[in-house]
Every structure is written in C-alpha cells, then in structure tokens.
C-alpha cells in the first residue's frame, strides 16, 4: 500500500497546500433522522468540478452497514502531518476516511480508492473495542496526527463523563488506547486540535452524552452547565497544562481553529450562546510571551436578532428573538479569513483576522434561518442554516451544510430540517458571493461534515511554516 514517492496531497506548509490544484470531488456524511425506518446513513460523493457535466450533484454513495449511526464529523487516515520531521512517513497514502457514528460509536473505515466515486466500507471498529481499550464512547472529531490518528469522544459508554481523546494506529486502525496521561480538571469534551510547533494540544467543551442525546436541556443551559472552558495540554507528555474559563454564561465552547502556521501560537474558538443576551462569541486564545501561559479573550460578539414570536419554536418564543447560535467556524489556510456559521439566524459571515485581535467583517451571505428562511436561487426558501463549513485549500471556495445534530435540529427547526449543501465563492481580497448554480438538496436525510478530495482547510496540520 506504500507509495514510491511522497503522497502528492501532502504539503510541508499551509502556504504550499494553498498552491495545490482545486478539488474535483467532495465527500459529505449524510444521516437518516428517522432511523426507525431501517435506512442506514451514508457517505456521499459530490462532483465539485465546474467543468464537469455532473457538477453540483451526488455522483457516488456508500451506505453504512448498520442503522442509526448519526454520521457527524470524519477525517483522513493520513495527511500533511505525515511530513513532520520527527516521525516522517511520507509514503503512506491519504486514502481512507475515518467515519465515526456520533450516536452509535461505531467507526467506519472507508476506502476511497481505486475509484473515489465508489468508496467502500472496508472495516468497522465496534463500540466495544473503543470502550474496552480506551474507555470512551460517542466518537466525535478525527484528526490525522504526526504519529497516529487522534479521535475525540464525548463521554463514557454509560453516557456520562469524562470525554477525552484516544488514538488509532494509522496503518492497522487498531484502537491504541486513551490519550490522556493526566487529565487534571478536564471532564467535558468536544473538539481538539494542536499547535504542532509548540507541542501543545487544546480541547473544548460541550457536554456528556446524557446532556445532549435527547436534545439540549434549557434548564441546564440556564444554569451554565454546558461546557465553557478551554484546556491546553502538553502534546508530548499528554498532560493537562492549563484551564481557560471563558465564563459560565458563554455556553458550549465548540470548534477549535488554531492558526495553520505552526510558528503562530494563537487560534479561534466559538461559543454557541450567551445565557445573558443570546449572543454568540468568537474568542482568540494565544500564548503570552514571557511566561508561556495561555490566555483567551472575546474578539467578536454576534447579537440575537428580534423576530415575531409566531415564527419561533417553543424554546425561543419568550425571547422574541433568534439567537445566532454559532456552532462552527473555519479558518483559511493562510490564517487570513475566519468563516462563522450562524445556524440560528441563517447567516455565513467572513472576517478578516490577519490581526487576530482586530477582526474585520468582510462578507455576509444569508441562507435559511429559524425566522428568515432565506432562499437559495436554486433551492427556494430554506430551513436549517449554515452549519458545517469546509474551505478549499486555495481559500477560493467554501462549502456549507445545514444540519447540526438530529435532537437539536428538532428543537430549533421543529418542522424538520431539509438537508442541503451550498457553496460560496470567495474574493481573495475579501468578500464572498453565493454560487447560484451550486445547490444539492437531500431528501429524507441530512448532510453534515464535508471533506474535500486531497485535503481541505481543516483536515491537515503542518510542521513547517
């Protein structure tokens, strides 16, 4: 399976990755929100080559062997981190998608070769193996690391905590065990990533499975019980270094987007909702020169938008406003543009974060939204809102899907989210516009994370600037 030359989708630096060819295919995880009907979730292949006659359509599909997985996030077996100098393995292929079911805890290994348009499930890691070897359950984020595949899990097999990280061998896909040696005060889990140049990893907080599998609990939210902290870790020694509390009113600290340039020691995280005013927050964490400690501060606050209570679902009627609900952010490979999904208000924002402490709003596109139902030229009025984002390596295109999580979709879009994938084209100088020809609707299933053939702006990490 080894290649004779370095896998040509591996790039030493984010700068070099941006010069790579544009993607022609994309993979999107779709799940069946009504698993009672016995239909499995699927990995779909999208044609994203504008020169192709089947542009903007589903051209391939592989169903999962089980039912009720709730496919969510996924990642590659290997990526540019394989070029890291201390444990290089450049001749491993970027070939397999590692696709966990967030609800089922099964991990599917999907082979995208020889024909990426007809991927195959070649291995399934059962929840019992993950539970017995790592003690975890409800698998969430997957990142290809320099030495192994890293995965985050939301909690323990019984549905409580702690959530944390575990490792998979990047050749055999065996579960290697729990990652943490010393977890300190960390209990809640969600996303993770790292600053490879600083030997530091960071994790964020959502909640344990029993806090979200039946939907968000308003009572717990008001009490500030969902996650609101960042944890910084020693990546080498796997020890907890520092806890950064963003404040209990900032509920659900989710996606972590460290600078791609490994010499930069800062990154961005979003908090979904403030219990004070329903706003959402974007924060920067950064390393303080001198003492090497980490600090975080809020750089963007997105306010709730007033709305007619008749248009609002039960939990929001009393507020007469739609919260922006920011569950996802994405950072371009040059660390210049940060994209922010406002899933509640139905808006995708673009900020220039060249100076991470002084962000400038440079673009906005409206799609869907709880009250607005902003239309797409090809899809009519939409529901759901911009949620999962994927930026192309060159930073010129952003792909968008609209479902968050089945139990939460039902709370904010009780009429049922209609799944779709849309795309915006980015002006390299700033600004973006909806691609009027790219709209892929899904019937009876919902799209979640997208990955682009050959890598994208959230799949790879780099050891060289």
């Amino acid at each position: 399976m080894a290649l004779w030359k370095t896998d040509q989708t591996f790039y030493p630096s984010p700068r070099m990755a941006m010069q790579g060819p544009p993607e022609k295919l994309a993979f999107v995880a779709t799940f069946n929100p009504t698993p009672q009907n016995g239909k499995p979730d699927a990995m779909c292949v999208l044609d994203v080559d504008p020169a192709s006659p089947t542009y903007a359509s589903v051209v391939g599909r592989v169903a999962m062997p089980g039912v009720g997985d709730e496919l969510h996030h996924f990642g590659w077996n290997a990526c540019s981190a394989a070029l890291c100098p201390y444990a290089p393995h450049p001749h491993v292929e970027r070939r397999y998608l590692i696709v966990p079911g967030l609800r089922s805890s099964r991990i599917h290994i999907i082979d995208t070769k020889p024909d990426p348009r007809s991927p195959q499930v070649v291995k399934v890691i059962e929840p019992a193996e993950i539970a017995s070897r790592a003690g975890y359950s409800r698998v969430h984020t997957i990142h290809c690391g320099p030495d192994a595949i890293y995965a985050s899990a939301m909690g323990s097999p019984s549905g409580g905590g702690p959530g944390g990280l575990f490792l998979l061998d990047h050749e055999s896909f065996d579960v290697l065990g729990q990652w943490e040696v010393e977890r300190g005060p960390q209990y809640l889990g969600y996303d993770f990533w790292w600053h490879l140049g600083y030997d530091v990893a960071m994790t964020s907080e959502w909640g344990t499975p029993d806090m979200f599998e039946n939907g968000l609990s308003l009572e717990r939210l008001v009490k500030g019980e969902y996650g609101h902290r960042l944890h910084m870790w020693d990546l080498r020694r796997r020890r907890h270094l520092q806890e950064i509390d963003l404040g209990a009113e900032h509920q659900m600290a989710l996606e972590l987007r460290p600078a791609h340039d490994p010499t930069k020691a800062y990154g961005f995280v979003c908090t979904v909702i403030s219990t004070k005013d329903l706003s959402a927050g974007i924060w920067v964490w950064r390393r303080v020169e001198g003492n090497g400690k980490w600090e975080a501060r809020k750089i963007i606050e997105i306010a709730a938008e007033p709305a007619d209570p008749d248009l609002l679902p039960p939990p929001l009627k009393q507020f007469k406003a739609v919260p922006p609900l920011v569950p996802e952010i994405a950072l371009s490979l040059d660390d210049r543009f940060l994209y922010v999904s406002c899933w509640g208000t139905g808006e995708l924002r673009q900020y220039d974060v060249s100076d991470p402490l002084k962000p400038r709003l440079t673009g906005s596109v409206r799609l869907g939204g709880i009250a607005a139902h902003a239309p797409h030229p090809k899809g009519g009025a939409l529901n759901g809102g911009p949620q999962m984002l994927e930026i192309s390596r060159d930073g010129r295109r952003v792909y968008i899907t609209n479902s968050l999580y089945s139990a939460i979709d039902a709370q904010f879009y009780p009429e049922g989210v209609r799944g779709w994938v849309a795309k915006v084209d980015v002006n390299p100088a700033g600004g973006m516009a909806l691609d009027p020809n790219f709209f892929i609707p899904f019937e009876h299933e919902r799209a979640h994370q997208i990955r682009l053939e050959g890598g994208d702006a959230s799949s790879d990490s780099f050891c060289y600037p």
Partner: protein, 218 residues
C-alpha cells in the same frame, strides 16, 4: 586496494544516512524554520550526529566484544541479527519510535537521533564490513597456503580502529546532513519533500537481509 574498500563503504553508508530526511537534516531544518534562525539549523546538527554516533558505537562495541571472544561467533550472530531485523523492516516498514515534539533541547535531539538510527538498523549494516576489516579478516594468502595462524588470521578490532569506524561513518553522515540541511534551508525549500523523497523502505530492508547473507559468505 582491498584495504581501502571497507573504509569507503563505511563512509558511503554514513553519507546515505546523512541524505535520509528521517535521520536528521529535516528535523534541523524544521527547528530552524520554527525559530526563523539559520543558527538553529546548525546547532541542531551536532546533537543529532552525536545520537547517531552513540547508536553506531554501541553496535561496534558489541561486535568488537564478540570478536574478542571468538571471531567465528560474529558471523552467525551478525547474520542472524541482520536477517531478522531486515525481515522486521520488510513487514513493518514504517515502524518508528513514537515521538511528538518540536520543542527539543540538545539532550532530546541526542535521544531522538539515537532512537531513529537504532530503529533504522544503521549500525547493524556495518557488521559485514567490520568482519572484512584487515585486522578482523583472515589474511587471504595465509589461508590459501593452509598455514592458518590464529594470532594473525582474524582478531578483534583495536580501540583505534573501532573508533575510526564510528568517527568516519558519523563524520560522513554529519557532513552530508549538514550540506543538505543548509542547502534546503537557504536555497531549495521544502518543496523537495514532495518531489525527491523516494520510498527506499523495501530496498533498505532487502539490503539488511542481503548484508546478513553476506556476513555468512565473506
């Protein structure tokens, strides 16, 4: 002439390890880029070479110890070690020490380089050559005439000679690694990792096995 080729082979193997990105120059370049400092590239090369030196030195030391007891024993032991290790590299070509750290001091680099060279089998590869070094090898003329005299027909390498093996090998490795590191850092850039990094895993594993067989034959 026959006295020179083992030394040339020792130096060439050193140069080969110096060229291999996973043996050190790439780490030195990465540290230089991370700290934006050419000085850092150069200072990293010394501990990396020292780690390599120790890894090779341990193998030579063990070989000399075995030779001092019985020159005949080194052949089967060396051959066995090489063939077994070669088969392991063939089965698990990308097995390497688990190491995730860019913030490294000199001691870390010595340890890292020692582990990488050892896991690669860098020192083992010298065994067939050690057996053939003049003081270790039986004098061909004597054997032909049937007058094998134990004192002359092969003995352990002396201290000076053993040290010369390790210094020559590591010196060649250091020189090559240093030139590549500086040239890549200053002029070529890391694009070369995509174009010129050929997979020699299987060939190297085959060479280890071949060297094992050679041990038995020479």
């Amino acid at each position: 002439m026959s006295g020179l080729w083992p030394w040339a082979a020792i130096a060439l193997l050193g140069a080969y390890h110096g060229l291999d990105p996973s043996m050190g120059w790439l780490f030195a370049v990465a540290l230089g880029l991370q700290e934006n400092s050419r000085r850092r590239v150069i200072t990293a090369l010394f501990p990396i070479a020292l780690g390599h030196f120790i890894s090779i030195g341990v193998v030579v030391l063990v070989a000399v110890e075995v030779m001092s007891r019985s020159i005949g024993l080194l052949r089967p032991l060396g051959a066995g070690a090489l063939i077994l290790f070669g088969v392991f590299r063939l089965l698990r070509p990308r097995a390497h020490p688990r190491w995730v750290a860019m913030r490294v001091g000199a001691f870390d680099l010595i340890l890292w380089s020692f582990l990488m060279a050892t896991a690669h089998g860098a020192g083992l590869m010298l065994l067939p050559i050690l057996i053939r070094l003049p003081s270790a090898a039986p004098m061909p003329a004597m054997v032909h005439h049937g007058h094998v005299m134990p004192a002359v027909a092969g003995g352990a390498l002396g201290v000076i000679e053993s040290l010369a093996v390790v210094v020559l090998h590591t010196g060649a490795m250091f020189t090559t690694m240093g030139i590549v590191a500086i040239v890549v850092y200053r002029w070529i850039g890391l694009q070369i990792l995509r174009s010129a990094w050929i997979n020699l895993d299987a060939i190297w594993a085959g060479a280890l096995i071949g060297a094992g067989v050679l041990c038995l034959m020479v």
